[in-house]
């Protein structure tokens, strides 16, 4: 039996004992996960530094802060999320219990990505644990230091059988995908997303796919261009552009192009100093393969800011490109690197057309003072999310669903959405064996009279809310008239 098969089997056996059912045990594991993230801060930061040259502050800001927030939210809200959810009834089920019962799915597979190795692996895990599942965690082998730390340290905090960490490359992942899971949660590229879904098809396993795409960023003439460029610069060059929701490219009117370039140039200097290469808070490209890939994308465009690089360090400077069109090399794939192309369009109509000619992205950014324009972009485009006048921060609002559409993915998570995504919402109708007389109208032999009654009772929807309000009103009128009669004569 392979290592992967063993891990899945153990997780399933452990799940079947029922130990994840009680909310206390889930909260216990979540508290342990929180302890892991806080106690092992240094180990995590060191690993990320080795993988992505991210500073300790950067790691806390962009990796663990989010995970801590999600865990605390889940612990606080779990009782509410896991409680049976009552639904409206029909006239005939008035005396019955009708509710939706959130239940665990079973054994979930979480495949993490390398760009935020902790955030995108542990945040889905929070949802999985909260929903009462077992989870096999497969961190990306590309961020090898983080994967190693996860494999060594996580089992010291979480139940080893319920939440095994299984490391490995492509063959190991393929072996994992041959096993049967009750849900697969994958973060990564669209290309591999298709393979995951195909593998899941064999066992009729539902999937959540958090993929990517080219997230456009439209800057309207009518906006605070200085502030816009600050926010865009920040959003773009965090993690060296290796963020699924990074603004991939900018669309703006030719008349503001130079201003945009200048502002971004100034911001880069302000944030990352004159020499980002030596600056602690500027990262590196994950590996040589991606370094080469990103460098090749510059071909055919003009570098106006940055452009310098150092292969030995996988360093690429924060770079802005111009003379870019829809056909340029840099527009052929998701950049996932610190290159910001600026494409000129004459107004929002052309911008919307440009965006709609391409696959639906994970997010669309629009910067404008004009609310009507923003509303137009919302109404005439489709994307996982839409954020106006800033970048990235929608990720931090746990009450917003985080996910894609079309090529950028399916399903969503964060906060309660993570819990719901990894639960089975079981419909429950609890009836008694009484009131058999009422049921008899649906039994054969069928007569026209019975049919008439059945049509009225069985399927008519009663707006109970309205009924209640009317009864209350009638009561109020009754009481009011009584009071008037009795006391106000």
């Amino acid at each position: 039996m392979s290592r992967q098969q063993l891990a899945v089997q153990r997780a399933r056996k452990s799940f079947q004992t029922g130990k994840t059912k009680p909310l206390e045990s889930r909260i216990h594991q979540l508290r342990n996960l929180l302890r892991f993230v806080t106690e092992r801060r240094k180990d995590i930061a060191e690993a990320v530094k080795k993988d992505l040259s991210k500073s300790e502050h950067g790691t806390e800001l962009f990796e663990t802060l989010g995970v801590e927030g999600e865990i605390k939210l889940a612990i606080e809200k779990l009782a509410e999320w896991a409680a049976p959810r009552p639904v409206e009834k029909s006239l005939l089920t008035i005396s019955d219990e009708v509710f939706v019962h959130p239940e665990p799915l079973g054994v979930v597979l979480i495949i993490g990505a390398w760009n935020y190795p902790w955030a995108v692996t542990l945040q889905p895990l929070v949802g999985a644990i909260a929903a009462g599942n077992a989870a096999v965690i497969k961190p990306s082998e590309v961020c090898c230091h983080s994967a190693k730390v996860m494999e060594e340290l996580l089992p010291q905090y979480l139940d080893k059988d319920l939440y095994p960490v299984v490391t490995g490359g492509v063959p190991e992942t393929q072996e994992l995908l041959r096993q049967r899971f009750d849900h697969i949660f994958y973060t990564g590229s669209s290309a591999v997303g298709k393979l995951v879904m195909e593998a899941a098809a064999r066992n009729l396993t539902p999937v959540t796919l958090e993929l990517g795409g080219k997230s456009p960023c439209y800057i309207d003439k009518n906006c605070d261009i200085t502030v816009a460029c600050r926010r865009i610069t920040w959003g773009k060059f965090v993690n060296c552009g290796q963020t699924c929701i990074a603004p991939d490219y900018v669309l703006c009117d030719p008349s503001i192009q130079n201003r945009v370039q200048e502002e971004i140039k100034n911001c880069i200097k302000e944030f990352y100093t004159d020499d980002p290469k030596t600056f602690e808070d500027y990262g590196r490209i994950i590996n040589k393969r991606h370094f080469k890939r990103i460098m090749a994308l510059m071909e055919g465009s003009t570098v106006v800011v940055g452009g310098d690089s150092d292969e030995s360090q996988c360093y690429i400077a924060p770079t802005v490109l111009k003379n870019v069109t829809g056909e340029s090399k840099v527009m052929k794939e998701e950049i996932f690197g610190p290159l910001l192309p600026i494409i000129t369009v004459s107004g929002v109509d052309e911008a919307i057309q440009f965006i709609n000619e391409r696959e639906k992205p994970l997010v669309i950014y629009v910067f404008s003072n004009d609310n009507k324009l923003i509303k137009r972009v919302i109404a005439e485009t489709s994307s996982g999310a839409l954020l106006a006048n800033d970048c990235l921060v929608h990720f931090t609002v746990s009450s917003l669903p985080f996910g894609g559409v079309g090529n950028s993915g399916m399903g969503c998570y964060h906060g309660r959405y993570g819990f719901d995504q990894l639960s089975h919402m079981r419909s429950c109708l609890i009836k008694q064996l009484k009131m058999e007389g009422v049921n008899s109208m649906r039994y054969p032999p069928h007569t026209a009279k019975k049919l008439g009654w059945a049509r009225f009772f069985l399927l008519k929807q009663i707006n109970l809310g309205r009924l209640r309000r009317m009864m209350l009103l009638a009561m109020f009128v009754g009481v009011a008239s009584f009071v008037v009669q009795r006391f106000l004569r």
């Binding site: 195909e198 926010r231 800033d390 009450s399 064996l433």
Partner: protein
């Protein structure tokens, strides 16, 4: 005659024009769909009788009224379903607009089965239309009369630009699946579901699968055998057992079985008379192939037939049949029966019965009959299934407030009522920030520092807004 790809291209162009987006358009189409059903109730009932010998009563209840009900429900609630949903924020985003918008997916495909050919095709379609999509429906060719009727009626009532019927058998369906859709909704068997999922994976198309399974019916504890028999017979033999949520098999103790069997026999006579084949209220098996499959199961069973067993190949008739002394490895326990044969397995303890159901795939529905609420609770908490109903059968799926769908081998995703609207929508997170508070934003810009970080922790925690 337009080719499949021409039809789909037309629908995509229509969708991209934005015509399905306004609420008024969706209301008009749903109202027209209502007229289609109302105006043609008699033809619908006749077509269903032709396909399945479905009694008028069953046709009205389970194919006409349930659809009309869903339409009323959608029309009453459409406005509120389409509203943006505002969500709670943290301090850093207090001044921003954060909401979730329900948006149509695009062009969706709905593949229907033959057992409830109207309901299981039109009910999902209602959700798809309400959500603002263009829709391709593929009725089952097995229920041919209904297929013909839907193909004839749909273009007369619904916008021909936005909704299309595509017909054919497995070959045409496979060709259809090669195209790119924005959602595929499939009701049917596990085998075909795998094919659908694999085709969907090529385009990263999300899918809803409404499949089946062997729905167990546990009868334990103190039980009113007569009442239970009424409901069990009704649920089991409705549509001659050809329902994805029919109770497939019964588990009970010997004593319960001995009380149940005579009750079942009596109820069957009360419902259908002494010569059931002559009763107008009993359906037939849909095709000769399925009739042969069911007779095969009956011939191979090692159990004892105690009620029914009569059959007539020409009429595709199988009498409501009860088989006792059925073991776990019996032929009747191999696959979903989907017919009027009810095996009863004798298992003394409730715990053992629960264990047996755990050895099988998760079904679409799980039933328990008992006057003891502790028994009901125990079964609910120690089982997993799409839906759960105590002391009755099937009726839980008629409540639009409840999500109707499976888990595990019985499928994923769900619909009915609001859930149908959600199934065919994309929940888009929208955040509209202002320009102010840039100083607050400065906390997140490099160079990073401990001080900045601790301020940020506070402003982005969900608790911080409770102070305001």
């Amino acid at each position: 005659m337009e080719s499949q790809s021409q039809v789909l291209e037309g629908l995509r162009t229509a969708f991209e024009s934005g015509v399905t987006i306004p609420e008024k358009f969706r209301r008009t189409q749903l109202t027209n769909l209502m007229s289609m059903i109302k105006d043609n109730e008699e033809q619908i009932v006749n077509a269903l009788h032709k396909d399945l010998t479905k009694p008028k009563f069953e046709a009205i209840l389970s194919e006409v009224d349930i659809v009309m009900n869903e339409l009323h429900y959608a029309l009453s609630n459409l406005t509120s379903w389409m509203q943006p949903e505002y969500v709670s924020k943290n301090l850093a985003t207090k001044l921003d607009d954060c909401f979730v918008r329900r948006e149509p997916l695009g062009v969706v495909l709905i593949i229907g089965p033959w057992n409830y050919p109207m309901q299981l095709l039109i009910l999902p379609m209602i959700g798809a239309i309400a959500a603002g999509n263009c829709v391709v429906i593929k009725p089952s060719e097995v229920s041919a009369a209904t297929d013909n009727l839907i193909t004839e009626l749909m273009p007369k009532y619904l916008s021909k630009d936005c909704y299309a019927v595509v017909r054919g058998g497995p070959k045409e369906t496979q060709a259809l699946l090669k195209n790119r859709f924005d959602h595929i909704f499939y009701t049917g068997s596990q085998a075909v579901a795998r094919v659908v999922l694999q085709a969907a994976a090529v385009h990263l198309t999300p899918v809803t699968l409404e499949l089946g399974g062997k729905c167990p019916c546990l009868i334990y504890g103190r039980v009113n055998a007569t009442a239970a028999a009424h409901r069990l017979v009704w649920a089991k033999f409705f549509n001659a057992g050809q329902s994805c949520v029919a109770p497939d098999y019964v588990l009970c103790s010997k004593a319960t079985r001995d009380a149940l069997v005579p009750a079942l026999r009596q109820v069957l006579e009360d419902f259908y008379g002494s010569d059931i084949q002559k009763s107008p209220d009993m359906s037939r098996i849909v095709t000769a192939k399925h009739w042969t499959r069911l007779m095969g199961l009956l011939n191979r069973t090692k159990g004892k037939v105690v009620v029914g067993g009569e059959h007539d190949e020409k009429d595709r008739y199988i009498a409501p049949t009860v088989v006792v002394d059925v073991a776990e490895d019996d032929a009747l326990m191999e696959e979903e029966i989907f017919g009027p044969i009810l095996p009863i397995l004798t298992i003394e303890s409730l715990e053992e019965s629960i264990k047996l159901t755990k050895r099988k795939e998760k079904p679409l529905a799980f039933y328990v009959f008992s006057d003891e609420s502790s028994v009901v609770k125990k079964v609910l908490e120690n089982s997993s299934s799409g839906g759960f109903c105590s002391n009755d059968g099937i009726v839980h799926m008629a409540l639009p407030g409840l999500p109707f769908g499976g888990v595990g081998n019985s499928g994923f995703g769900h619909y009915h009522g609001h859930w149908g609207f959600e199934a065919f929508s994309h929940r888009r997170a929208v955040m509209l920030r202002g320009w102010a508070l840039e100083k607050l934003n400065a906390l997140r810009y490099p160079p990073y520092s401990d001080e900045k970080l601790s301020w940020l922790r506070w402003t982005t925690s969900p608790k911080s807004c409770s102070i305001m």
